[in-house]
Assembly symmetry: C2
Homo-oligomer: 402 residues x 2
Amino acid sequence: MSKTKEVYLSDDVRKQNRFRIISQFRLHGKKSRTEISKLADLSASTVTNVSTMLLEEGIIRVCDQDASNPSSSSHGRPRVQLELNPNYKFVVAGSLTFNSISLSMFDYLGEKIATVQEKVMLETMDGDEIAQFILSMLKRFEVDVAPSIFVLGVQGLTKNNGKEILWSPILSESGMKFAERLSQISYAEVTVANDSAMIARSLSKDKAYADGTFGAVLMSYGIGLGLYIDGQPFQGAKSSASELGHISFKGGEGALCRCKKHGCVEAYASDYAIWRRAKGLDPQALPDRPVTSEDIAQIIEDARQGEGPAREAIREAGRAIGFGLAIMFGLFDAFPVVFVGRGAQALDLMDEEIRQSLNEHFRFHNQLDINFTKESDALIHVENGSSIVGLEWLDQQAAFGA
Amino acid sequence: MSKTKEVYLSDDVRKQNRFRIISQFRLHGKKSRTEISKLADLSASTVTNVSTMLLEEGIIRVCDQDASNPSSSSHGRPRVQLELNPNYKFVVAGSLTFNSISLSMFDYLGEKIATVQEKVMLETMDGDEIAQFILSMLKRFEVDVAPSIFVLGVQGLTKNNGKEILWSPILSESGMKFAERLSQISYAEVTVANDSAMIARSLSKDKAYADGTFGAVLMSYGIGLGLYIDGQPFQGAKSSASELGHISFKGGEGALCRCKKHGCVEAYASDYAIWRRAKGLDPQALPDRPVTSEDIAQIIEDARQGEGPAREAIREAGRAIGFGLAIMFGLFDAFPVVFVGRGAQALDLMDEEIRQSLNEHFRFHNQLDINFTKESDALIHVENGSSIVGLEWLDQQAAFGA
DNA sequence: TCATTTAATTTAACCCTTAAAAAATTACAT
DNA sequence: ATGTAATTTTTTAAGGGTTAAATTAAATGA
């Protein structure tokens, strides 16, 4: 998954240039050799050579040269449009949440060609069972192709190599190795990634966020942060890091968090925390049943009606988020923030508290013209971001080989 | 300063290999072509070609082939030892603190060949004056060579490009551009870097810390953190980041910090904070005179005598540091920590409080077998780390050209 | 049908690395 | 002294990559 190559042979030069060319197709879609030559800043000869190889290897294909040849200037030999071959290889991108698994298959062009979703409590399963379950879901796809890579977004701390889940609140074992098992039985590459990081990746392709520096805060069963800096996903040292949710907001006597510590941001801002507080339950215990989307929607509606425990629960969530962001801003400088997930629907009700809290805890008062926006469909973004990771991996494989 | 290069021409291949070879000399000192060939994993022919060029360009030189030809096996043509040419180019590495400037000149081999130190209050000077002052100090060096690059360690937040100080407690202007001015009048490259980051860089060459992952906590006029992960210096998004000192420890009603906010870790753990508390001064005001090394030494000695305000001030510092580290560990995973600076002399008196605080605020109880050690001579480490940065820059220039 | 125009391919030259051959330099035995 | 073996370094020739320039391919329009 790394892009770093020790380059000291002309062979490596070709691989680099293959990657350059594939990347241009990935970025711009259908293009002629001449256009690619300009985009990739490579000579026409090189583009001819490389694209001949890529065609032979099935990585790209010649488009149907319909009447509609777009950019071609009417005179002269017409351009031959090429594009990535959608059938070259396939990615399965998915999202594992505490009560469901959702999987979608994408072709090499990035089109979603199938999708399956299943309710299931992951906490009750061990690594083998999860791997088997995912494989069984695959069989229900209408398409008959094998994926080359799985990318699965999951809440919690994942290792940067994508091979291990260090800790996840939705899994029974920690350091769970279902990735390894799934890889064994499916003969495919398997990558696990932090869900919020995947959301950020998905948004990074969006024009509105494409300038490159922003954070995606996921407010749902937990609180996650995915960070993009100068167009690059930010990774922690070993792990997905940027664990916004488990920054200590209230210290040891604070409300109980799912991670078994007290006072975490999550213990005030996640959906179970908001529900717990709105319903007046014991802050030192976890709710005894899962909190549903409907529960949260109801609380938000109550809060909109006026003051009361629901309103106050949401205010407190805002203060916790603001505190967490202040810490993050202190470490990374302030960045625009996109809120995603069920809790984000109440962003307008929290805005003031977030800003107050930020103001109190972040050191640069004057830099606080921070942009908060919200996005829904967290799950779609997780899947989308995961597919992007998968496609990038395929591109690198196609360029540099195994 | 980045190592990433776009390689798509055979010319780039040679540059990469030049860098490989130079790096081996940097790493191992005197070596023959044959040895370099093995170390750099390049053919003997390539090493011959490249070293011929490097010799012509004055980047390396032939060593005096004394009687002592070390590794050479007695039979056969003897190896010709080569090494980096100490006179190729020169680095000035320095440290700017609130009341002094210290500069040293290093040759291309990394040997310190001159050093000057000067008491001066930086806060009273503007960018131009600082730049002029540094130049005037240079004139007092006994050597008559011009440096190619200045690397200056300074407390506060620096931009990653090394061109700007975003914020520093010891400078009057924020975003000060003295780097630019110094660069103009000295015709040399100028880099400003976070002092703690430089300390970490210096320590990273030390065998004890060379396994690669550790943090260096600087406890003196402020609280800084330099992070090394897997042998690589960790950088924030835009800035030196990892501002341990300004994590909010006590919130808005906490003690006044030099950054003008309240409750920062620094407001409890820096030398002025410890002094303030030990002397029973108003926590909502800054001390009205600089705290000296002697002041701190005195407080530590008092604290060793038994309970009392001095002892309690140091305890509180430990709690603040522990809290800050807990936040850091939550974001980066736990890492061994080296303490440096005046305050570090009291590490044994704080150890218990640091660990208690960590335990309370860090989410993984069981991972707390963290190594704390201390190093003194913060200033030497800052200079040392800075010289390393300078030499790396020269190496890259030598390999890749301007 | 033919000149014009633009796209794509082929050709020839250049750069870099490396394996293999050659040259250089020393130790040691006779 | 002199020749042989051992080792290091340089030179040579081959192989792979890129590119500018020349050439071929394919369409338009008079």
